[in-house]
């Protein structure tokens, strides 16, 4: 990196990153909270996620919920959306699994492939 053009590009890159941070591009966890999800135990999954995020002080993670998406047999479903990466969906999650997803995937960025509904390549 030595030309002024390079510097200009570098500047753009940094600004872009700042913008991403400010526009609230946060890690998102979305839990299926339709009738099927609730009956399958989605509420416990959500409280487990909140609990683990709290313990690890991961306050920038956005926890939200959605209705039934038609995969009722796989509930409780948990989506993890990390900015810049493909959305992944975990199926048949329970409270201990939820805690591990927070520890391994959200805190350390390593998806737990065995529990995914949409397998990563």
């Amino acid at each position: 990196m030595k030309s002024l053009e390079d510097l200009e590009n570098f500047k753009k890159e940094v600004l872009e990153k700042i913008k991403v941070r400010e526009s609230g591009e946060k890690i998102k966890v979305v839990i299926g909270m339709g009738t099927c999800g609730i009956a399958a135990g989605a509420r416990e999954v959500m409280t487990a996620v909140l609990d683990e995020l709290g313990k690890r002080n991961l306050n920038e993670v956005l926890v939200s919920q959605t209705g039934c998406i038609g995969m009722c047999g796989q509930e409780p479903l948990v989506d993890v959306i990390i900015p810049g990466k493909e959305k992944v969906t975990y199926g048949k999650v329970d409270a201990p699994k939820a805690k591990q997803i927070v520890a391994q995937h959200i805190a350390n960025g390593i998806p737990i492939n065995d529990w995914l509904v949409n397998k990563l390549e």
Partner: protein
């Protein structure tokens, strides 16, 4: 559903879906009269009289992606199995009230369950929604207003994970304090 608190969460999700900005929950455990009632009122978009007539039919829903809507029909079945009723009142554009009643001492009545978790899952859905909660057990009353807490917090959103964890403990304590001694709200065998 194993717990009435899960039915409650289901009703609250309906209120969210209806775009409500304020939701009131009223639970009345009137043991002397062998009655338990659960009521959720919201200021969401309400529904038409035609929809209202069919709302407890499991094959009717406002969703367009699928043709089933099981929530209210499940609660209706639970209430009726416990010698009670489910009533739904709604005015289009104004809001909806769902009221379930059952016999307090009925074999088939599910336990109230983990109300605090239900409420925080609902509160996590938005930092602008207002929740009023009133719970009466005989003559003891516990009330909670999410607006009061939001005022205390100033700029921290109510759905911040740490705030929600605090709320869960606060609400658990509040409900426990008015509950009858020895009354089990938990499902046996589950922690």
């Amino acid at each position: 559903m194993e717990e009435l608190a899960m039915h409650l969460l289901d009703l609250l999700e309906n209120s969210l879906e209806a775009g409500a900005s304020e939701v009131s929950v009223f639970i009345h455990e009137d043991i002397a009269n062998n009655s338990l009632s659960l009521e959720v009122s919201d200021n969401g978009k309400g529904m038409s009289p035609e929809m209202l007539e069919q709302v407890c039919n499991p094959f009717v829903t406002s969703r367009t992606t699928r043709r089933f809507g099981l929530g209210l029909s499940l609660l209706k079945a639970t209430a009726e199995a416990c010698g009670g009723t489910l009533q739904v009142y709604s005015i289009q554009g104004k809001g909806t009230t769902v009221a379930a009643s059952m016999q307090y001492q009925h074999w088939d009545r599910p336990p109230l369950g983990d109300l605090a978790s239900t409420l925080i899952v609902f509160l996590s859905a938005s930092d602008t929604i207002a929740l009023n909660y009133k719970h009466i057990v005989n003559e003891r009353v516990f009330t909670f207003s999410s607006r009061e807490i939001a005022e205390l917090l100033d700029n921290i959103p109510l759905n911040h994970p740490q705030v929600l964890n605090w709320l869960r403990n606060y609400l658990t304590e509040g409900v426990k304090n008015i509950s009858l001694r020895g009354e089990q709200n938990e499902i046996p065998g589950r922690s």
